[in-house]
């Protein structure tokens, strides 16, 4: 028996909490070495990844940068490149929500959401896939949202930025397939994270009622699907958007 990511190297953004942290945990348990990217340094996080790496006999390097700063993204890339390690997997998880009705959304807010959820991720993906292209192999996993497919009143900027991710996923999958790189996206439904903690109880109840499984998803359940797309289990899949939503619509 083998672990799914034995000897693979992965870049994961948004590693501090929620889906990102679950993904770091699951990847490490499956033998992956990880550049765990986060917005800011955190002592609890650092001690957690130290333990995780010792337990699983892998290395986990924290990398801190703000997605609003393209220069910082570039230096993170340079640090990865200079390590001379292969990069097999890129998981773009970091993102932000913004709740406002269409007419109440300022252009400034709209641009900020797109900066974090789309432009910065494209920049990082350009850098990392350059490394992958040399190896003629790789798997990129983007995190979109079911609200990008279904729409969600009061989340115009967020849903539009996540819809852009889907378009990019499909185009990139076609452009990079010739280099052996697969590009897929995940569209999570309502997952028990900080992002959904602020949802009003009645909205949460309505969403649960719409799902076939009638319960919230756990971050670890999204991580399981990311693991599938990162691993060789999905060897013939590219350009796909997988809904992980307990069956909503």
């Amino acid at each position: 028996m083998q672990m799914l990511l034995k000897g693979k190297n992965a870049v994961i953004t948004g590693s501090l909490k929620g889906i990102g942290l679950s993904t770091v945990d699951l990847f490490a348990r499956n033998g992956a070495n990880i550049w765990a990217c986060a917005q800011y340094q955190d002592a609890a996080f650092e001690s957690h990844i130290r333990e995780l790496s010792a337990e699983n006999n892998v290395w986990i390097k924290p990398l801190y940068f703000d997605l609003l700063d393209p220069e910082k993204i570039k230096s993170a890339y340079q640090e990865i490149r200079e390590s001379k390690e292969r990069v097999d997997i890129l998981v773009n998880i970091a993102g932000m929500t913004h709740d406002a009705l269409f007419h109440m959304t300022t252009m400034e807010q709209m641009k900020k959401v797109f900066e974090v959820n789309f432009f910065s991720q494209m920049l990082l993906t350009q850098y990392i896939t350059k490394i992958m292209m040399r190896n003629k192999a790789g798997s990129v996993i983007n995190i979109s949202s079911i609200s990008a497919i279904d729409g969600n009143p009061g989340q115009l900027a967020y849903t539009a930025s996540k819809a852009a991710i889907i378009g990019a996923t499909k185009t990139l999958s076609a452009e990079l397939a010739g280099y052996g790189i697969r590009v897929n996206a995940i569209a999570p439904g309502v997952i028990d994270t900080e992002m959904t903690k602020n949802l009003p109880a009645d909205v949460l109840k309505r969403l649960m009622g719409k799902s076939d499984l009638k319960h919230l998803g756990l971050p670890s359940e999204v991580a399981g699907v990311i693991l599938f797309l990162a691993s060789d289990m999905s060897s013939y899949m590219t350009g796909q958007v997988l809904r992980v939503d307990g069956g909503i619509g």
């Binding site: 028996m1 083998q2 672990m3 799914l4 699951l26 348990r29 499956n30 033998g31 699983n56 999958s173 076609a174 397939a177 010739g178 439904g189 799902s211 076939d212 499984l213 009638k214 998803g217 756990l218 359940e221 999204v222 399981g224 699907v225 693991l227 599938f228 691993s231 060789d232 289990m233 999905s234 060897s235 013939y236 899949m237 590219t238 350009g239 796909q240 997988l242 809904r243 992980v244 939503d245 307990g246 069956g247």
Partner: protein
């Protein structure tokens, strides 16, 4: 590939699975991968042959799992029913059902016969539907289960010459979503895999030219192998996909 999602147990350790169409192609690949990953299996096939019996015996010895061959003809409702009952009457938990068996039919719309149309729907839709009714009932009692239908990219895209086959697979997709909605509350997940062009005997019904053109349409510029499909089925069968239901997952190299 025997895999683990946690560095410990195999993905289907001690799970019981029913797989139809195990004699060759995608079904055989699913059978092998499930056995390798620790599942006990009711291996369903159309006809009893020495070759099939020997294959299941050797898999069972190699991976220390139980494999029980089960023979029935999907054309015959009575056989489908008694096969399902012979499974549920064993009082074992049925964790996974893979409705894989199917037939293909390539013909232009105007040339498609009603007789053939009825046969394709009988095998690709009615029979697995009936079979699932019995197995799903057992799963609902357990309050856990995963049902995986094998659909086709032809059931989504609609390809010339595949009006009958594509329509039968589209029916499977719709049933997948409706079943997911009905069975979700009972803890039963229902999903479907839509393979693209895959290296199986079904290809013999396509001309060389059509096969080449289809491969060119894929982003990966290659045909899928039965094992590529089996791995996606393994994902849906396992707890890795515990929050995934009602989905149709294309495994098509990017079309």
């Amino acid at each position: 590939m025997a895999v683990s999602d946690n560095g410990g147990k195999m993905l289907l350790h001690k799970k019981n699975a029913v797989i139809t169409g195990c004699a060759h192609g995608i079904g055989k690949a699913i059978l092998e991968l499930f056995a390798e990953n620790g599942a006990n299996i009711w291996a369903c096939a159309h006809t009893k042959t020495d070759e099939f019996e020997a294959m299941t015996r050797s898999l069972s010895e190699q991976y220390h799992v139980e494999i029980r061959p089960l023979y029935f003809d999907l054309h015959d409702q009575e056989q489908v029913k008694s096969a399902a009952k012979s499974i549920t009457s064993q009082k074992l938990q049925v964790d996974i059902l893979v409705n894989n068996a199917g037939i293909t039919y390539n013909a232009l719309f105007l040339m498609s016969s009603m007789e053939k149309m009825r046969e394709v729907f009988e095998i690709n839709f009615f029979a697995p539907f009936l079979f699932s009714q019995y197995i799903a009932k057992a799963m609902m009692k357990q309050r856990k289960g995963s049902i995986i239908h094998i659909s086709s990219s032809a059931g989504i895209d609609g390809n010339a010459g595949r009006s009958v086959y594509g329509a039968s697979k589209a029916a499977v997709i719709c049933a997948t979503k409706a079943m997911a909605a009905e069975l979700g509350e009972s803890g039963v997940r229902v999903n479907s895999i839509a393979p693209g062009i895959t290296r199986t005997t079904m290809l013999s019904s396509m001309t060389e030219k059509v096969i080449e053109e289809t491969i060119l349409q894929t982003a990966m510029k290659r045909m899928g192998n039965p094992d590529d499909i089996a791995k996606a089925v393994l994902f849906l069968a396992s707890d890795m996909s515990s929050y995934v239901t009602g989905q149709v997952i294309r495994v098509d190299g990017g079309m």
